[in-house]
Symmetry: C2
Subunit: 385 residues, 2 copies
Amino acid sequence: MQKVAILGIGQTTISEHWEQSLREIAGEAAFAALQDAGLEKVDALYVGNMLSPLINGQNQLGTFIADWIGLWHQEAVKVEAACGSGAAAFRSALMAVAAGEVESALVVGIEKMSDKTGHDITASLATAADADYEVEQGVSFVGLNALVMQRYMHEFGWKHADFAPFSINAHANAMFNPHARLHERITTERFEKSSMVATPINLLDASPIGDGAAAAVIVPASKVASLKNKPRLIVAASASSTDTIAVHSRKDPLFLRAAYTCAKRCYEMACVKPSNLDVFEVHDAFTIMAALSLEACGFAERGKGVQLGLDNEITPKGRIPICTRGGLKARGHPVGATGMYQIVEVAQQLRGECGETQVDGAKIGMAQNIGGSGATIITHILKVD
Amino acid sequence: MQKVAILGIGQTTISEHWEQSLREIAGEAAFAALQDAGLEKVDALYVGNMLSPLINGQNQLGTFIADWIGLWHQEAVKVEAACGSGAAAFRSALMAVAAGEVESALVVGIEKMSDKTGHDITASLATAADADYEVEQGVSFVGLNALVMQRYMHEFGWKHADFAPFSINAHANAMFNPHARLHERITTERFEKSSMVATPINLLDASPIGDGAAAAVIVPASKVASLKNKPRLIVAASASSTDTIAVHSRKDPLFLRAAYTCAKRCYEMACVKPSNLDVFEVHDAFTIMAALSLEACGFAERGKGVQLGLDNEITPKGRIPICTRGGLKARGHPVGATGMYQIVEVAQQLRGECGETQVDGAKIGMAQNIGGSGATIITHILKVD
């Protein structure tokens, strides 16, 4: 498998873009990435998206977006893995470039959620869970995560307030990310007093949805030997793994086994240990997911992920900086686009473009995207070559 | 890119499977393919599906089906390109095996359409067209194809009855395919008297939807050097291309440019000419699509595709046998599964398993899957190695 480099990145602000359609949002990120890469065309387009059939009445999103950005007569396809769709599309593009089938690929993660509201959104998001065994019983997606969080608190003895640092760190970092959905510092007190969504998950445990797109251009690393002003970023590792789709089918619902498997494979591929990572963009759809991800990826023992937050180890100056651009919690979670935001943000860290939340001397970063409640995990390690 | 072989194939009967759920249908084809391949496990699962979010309330279909067939902790993902989803998933699997990232892959095309009926299905299928520019104007998917067929008849002077051979050949061949949805011979007279759907497309121009799944197992060709009883089938070429998603955006709506591009690339990759192909599984969602595909792929001049049917050249004994197992018209069109049925059927021909509709000495076959009205084309050439 030949080495692949990230040549360009682009993203839109995450918000409720009432004035823009799905194709316009996707186009904005796509053109930004192409411009950053200094390319006008690429051989293929891979689109990560979860909800366009349900929310925008549109399928065949690969061709749909290729058409909009003028990329006719090339390959285009959509890849879907629920909220893991963005990274799944990136991985598909990686395979095609690595196989030598395409010389350059554009990956776009896109979600335009404000075309529907309220119950329609809750029902659409529930399609990430098992329709027959979970949703049929009336459980929503946040409800499933609430059950997991409740169990975690019971099992390991944490209080709800102990999860506050995840949310506080994410919000603090998002203050310096112009593309973030929320720009609002929060405190432990406010975290605790926030409205309940599904016990014990309250509004500040949960990430906000939104409209947004993020994109990257990848090429064989051999084609970018001599970049002048930017470090050469390569994809040092990529892995994808699954668990049961229904949470109740797992022997241990508090262990993200697929995340563990992916991280292990990625560490081997990239020849690194967890302690070598300078930044880790986790999939903090809910605070509990940040804790479980840190544990599964080797940064804390089982049941101790929460301690990393309490010890200030997850901030940009800490031992393992997470959510450095705001994470899902404050940058926002346009579901099928999120995995590409994570890739773009790790790239920004490695390029030293993160200003106030820049991790000093960042050379290696990991992005971990989750579909469903830990059901599909796609992990990538990027590094400065 | 390393050479890839097809090690096993499987399929379910296409019907209205009221008694089976989506996962059960997919599982049946998956297990059949694994058994045919003599494998219990594979490294990765690629699922082609178009409508599960809309019809079955289920996203994340890769992991969903991996879970059902016991393929935990491996890679799984869904690929979508409207009615081209099946072949798009096959191509994704091919890239991963060719890149050396996975050693064996299972591809499943699945659609379970009978969970909804009537208008819901028409609206769901319309998501393959452009939501803003076509569907918003009230045009259905069959309506779009009817406009194309009308124009073709006007432009090249054909009568409706001239399209009858496409339908007659498909129905005749399906008589000998136990997995086909329809087992019913038709005549030109019946073709002409069939109920109108959208002028000039009548019921016998149009393919029936249905529930079904088809699957294949692929591995590096180097791993299957010494098969005993079966010929070694390799994927000699693969290509994917797009056109504008809205039909009205094309300079020439009667030319399937993406099909032309794919066929050209495939002929080059496989070092063959159209006349070398022993069998061609076309995407005859409507009779007009069969005619346009034959023209775009070099079997007839522009406007002359219909003549091939009238000259009896498309039957199993003809110059270019198409729809040898019934095609979309009579085998049936479970939309996201269709591309995998085509791959399976070409493989059956090359293995000499087609009985009454076996093409004598078939060694090279092409499968061409279409998403939308010619918007996404994915073409594969298989051959006996």
